[in-house]
């Protein structure tokens, strides 16, 4: 079984690193949703009423949204310290799926078949990347550049 999983999944991530990827998938989308809800309660902000931005900081939805977005940026930069940008990209895109599903479940929004197709595409993309190595070993590339093994 372990050998079979090792054949499909060509990277060895620690449980904490999977948690970081999960945080990337969830925090940005939930944070954006909470910020949108909070700012809808605060009302439109224009150049003549910038003081409203300070009022927005008293809104709990805005506060939790900001904390989640800081969490996203921390998780994103942490992930980039041990994984390739092209490995992380599908995880960031998965946030769009979370937003769509949150809209469907919480706000009872209608998801058109085109959006379901979009969700399927992103899920497939995550599956494709998750099967490959998380990081390019540049020693291997240097060896390839040198022409060894041609």
């Amino acid at each position: 079984m372990a050998r079979w999983i090792g054949w499909i999944v060509k990277h060895k991530l620690r449980p904490s690193q999977y948690a970081v990827l999960l945080a990337i998938m969830l925090t940005a989308s939930v944070g954006d949703s909470l910020l949108a809800r909070g700012m809808a309660q605060v009302g439109p902000v224009d150049l003549h009423h910038l003081g409203l931005l300070f009022k927005a900081l008293l809104n709990p939805y805005v506060d939790i949204g900001i904390v989640l977005l800081i969490g996203f940026f921390s998780a994103y930069t942490t992930a980039l310290s041990w994984a390739d940008l092209t490995f992380i990209m599908p995880a960031t895109a998965f946030g769009y799926v979370v937003i769509a599903l949150l809209g469907k479940v919480w706000l009872h929004e209608q998801l058109t078949w085109l959006r379901w197709l979009g969700i399927a595409c992103i899920v497939c993309a995550v599956g494709f990347v998750a099967g490959g190595p998380s990081r390019t070993e540049h020693a291997d590339l240097d060896l390839m550049d040198s022409g060894v093994g041609r």
Binding site: A93, G118, F128
Partner: protein, 130 residues
């Protein structure tokens, strides 16, 4: 109906936003690759030392500045292009641009599996944001 001039302006703004976003993400990724696994740094220098190491990395700082510029450029783009055009176009161009830039500048091994994933992500995001 958008005139040719207005459409060109809108696409120039969309392209600019996407280029800034790609530059920001690649610079941040480059900075983090340079630093190495943050868990290892935290084990030696603690959380404060890790945050200091990140914030004093020039590539990371340049990338973060690009992302800040991207935010304002996005506001500008949305003022001259419709959201239904700008949203999917910027997201799609950014994902494709990231993959190309990661291969060229970060020397990432963008193999067939990852190109397929980039294509699926781009199509998926465009479909979801329409």
């Amino acid at each position: 109906m958008m005139g040719v001039h207005a459409a060109l302006h809108a696409w120039a703004a969309i392209l600019f936003v996407a280029v800034i976003a790609v530059a920001g993400e690649v610079l941040i990724a480059s900075g983090m690759h340079e630093l190495g696994d943050l868990d290892n740094i935290r084990a030696v220098h603690g959380l404060g030392g890790t945050i200091a190491a990140v914030l004093t990395n020039m590539r990371f700082v340049a990338g973060a500045l690009c992302m800040a510029l991207n935010f304002f450029a996005m506001l500008f783009a949305l003022s001259i292009a419709e959201l239904s055009l700008a949203g999917p176009a910027i997201a799609g161009l950014t994902y494709i641009g990231n993959a190309v830039a990661a291969k060229i500048f970060l020397r990432e091994n963008v193999n067939r599996r990852r190109w397929i994933a980039v294509t699926f992500v781009t199509i998926g995001v465009v479909l979801l944001t329409r």
